[in-house]
Symmetry: C2
Subunit: 238 residues, 2 copies
DNA sequence: CGTTCCCTTGACACCGATCAACTCTGGTGG
DNA sequence: CCACCAGAGTTGATCGGTGTCAAGGGAACG
């Protein structure tokens, strides 16, 4: 079907770690490719519920995984950066959806082809297992933030985490980066209201620790920020 | 080293789904067995940090995965029931620890032997990937609870989740089960204080929805409880 | 030049944290 | 048999962090 434009594999490999896949695994994954697609800011990439859609591998941009309450609220459970799958969880059951934070490009991978590739190439299964465990670690850290940290600490931690992950993806400078989130989206990730997000952000600004203008974040006092958020990057493995 | 007492494999297989492992995978896992161990209520099964300890597969009892703040609090991120691994995440990096909620028996599996088995038997890797994704789904649901649900709803949801998981493990009757958690531990799972846990529990009791005496929970109005917690078991896949 | 989205700020109410005291149970030792 | 003690559960009073409601400002865009 699709002409194999395999630039996305590089991105995928970068995320998994350069040695995670050998040439055979690379090829096997490449053969699951069934096309590409673009989404605009705010669009739904994957809806909730278990569908037969292909898997969405993020080539470019930011996405967020979301879980919704029937009535009340929406929770962002995770951000998806290039080289990660928006819907790895669909390999098992179903859960949650994904939405585009920025303009986004994804590679579409046929789900059953991926499953077949895993059954033939154990290193691929192991690489995906590691990816899933890495996501688990982030989810646990978010639970810790939501349950135990105070809001100011939580926000500081979130900013540190995003900075570090973006840095590893080659998308952040030493002390600044593009933060395409609206305050409402930050709120949905932190389980608070947009109004309160604003106030806590103001607090960090007032103390000269960060500035945030036009979706550009600058960290003036990195050590302070890490300190406030008790940020220790060691959970961001692989 | 150890005499192969392989009753734990049955428990493991029950959790993974009966068809997840074939005879070859079974044997491969069995060969990673290096012994068994028991822990008493309250003991630490796995400490935080990345060690070379073997993996701990829960044969009997309840455990909890915990993440700690340097100062302040501790968050229970997940409960571990029989057939699950206390420290699957150690296959990748490290993260968090595990503690015994009840008297607990675990099978010890050599970590590198498990890794070798995965590299030889892709179905094993896939089964563990599915297990990890199932854990992810629970973590996401917990994030939704912590971030978006009110405390009463959160507690109702937690009780429903435990009931359903215990039922699947053959450890719960239709409307009652042993809940070995102290109110303090429930609080650590929900990110609230023990005092408040008590009050919310009283609320559910006062409304005749549940009763909880001597670590035995009875659900008098199951439909009501599910309704309050907006509980939908579909995320508990595999 | 109006509309829309996002950010910002103020006033007020309330949920849940904190502090403190008391009960109840089971276990231990005199 | 009773005294004591530790751990868990219960309840009340008070305080503060966040949610809620409301209004306004500023930038981007047609």
């Amino acid at each position: 079907m699709a002409i194999a434009n395999n630039d996305w594999i590089e991105v995928f490999q970068r995320r998994l770690g350069t040695n995670a896949l050998g040439p055979a695994e690379r090829d096997a994954v490449a053969q699951a490719y069934v096309g590409s697609r673009a989404f605009r800011r705010g669009e739904t990439i994957v809806g909730e519920g278990n569908t037969d859609e292909p898997l969405h591998l993020l080539k470019r941009g930011w996405a967020a995984r979301v879980c919704m309450l029937e009535v009340g609220g929406r929770q962002i459970t995770d951000f998806v950066l290039p080289g990660e799958l928006c819907d790895l969880s669909r390999l098992n059951g179903s859960f949650g959806g994904a939405l585009a934070i920025t303009q986004v490009n994804v590679a579409l991978l046929d789900r059953s082809a991926v499953l077949r590739a895993i059954e033939s190439y154990p290193k691929l299964g192991l690489a995906l297992l590691r990816l899933a465990l890495s996501e688990q670690a982030t989810l646990r850290e978010w639970l810790l933030c939501l349950g135990q940290r105070e809001t100011r600490e939580h926000l500081a931690h979130l900013l540190c985490e995003l900075h570090e992950r973006l840095r590893r993806a080659g998308m952040a400078a030493d002390h600044e980066f593009d933060l395409p989130l609206t305050q409402e989206q930050i709120a949905e990730a932190m389980g608070i209201t947009p109004v309160h997000t604003n106030r806590v952000l103001q607090g960090l600004r007032k103390d000269g620790i960060i500035s945030l203008d036009q979706r550009r974040l600058t960290i003036h006092q990195p050590a302070q920020l890490k300190n406030i958020g008790e940020f220790d990057a060691s959970y961001l493995t692989a």
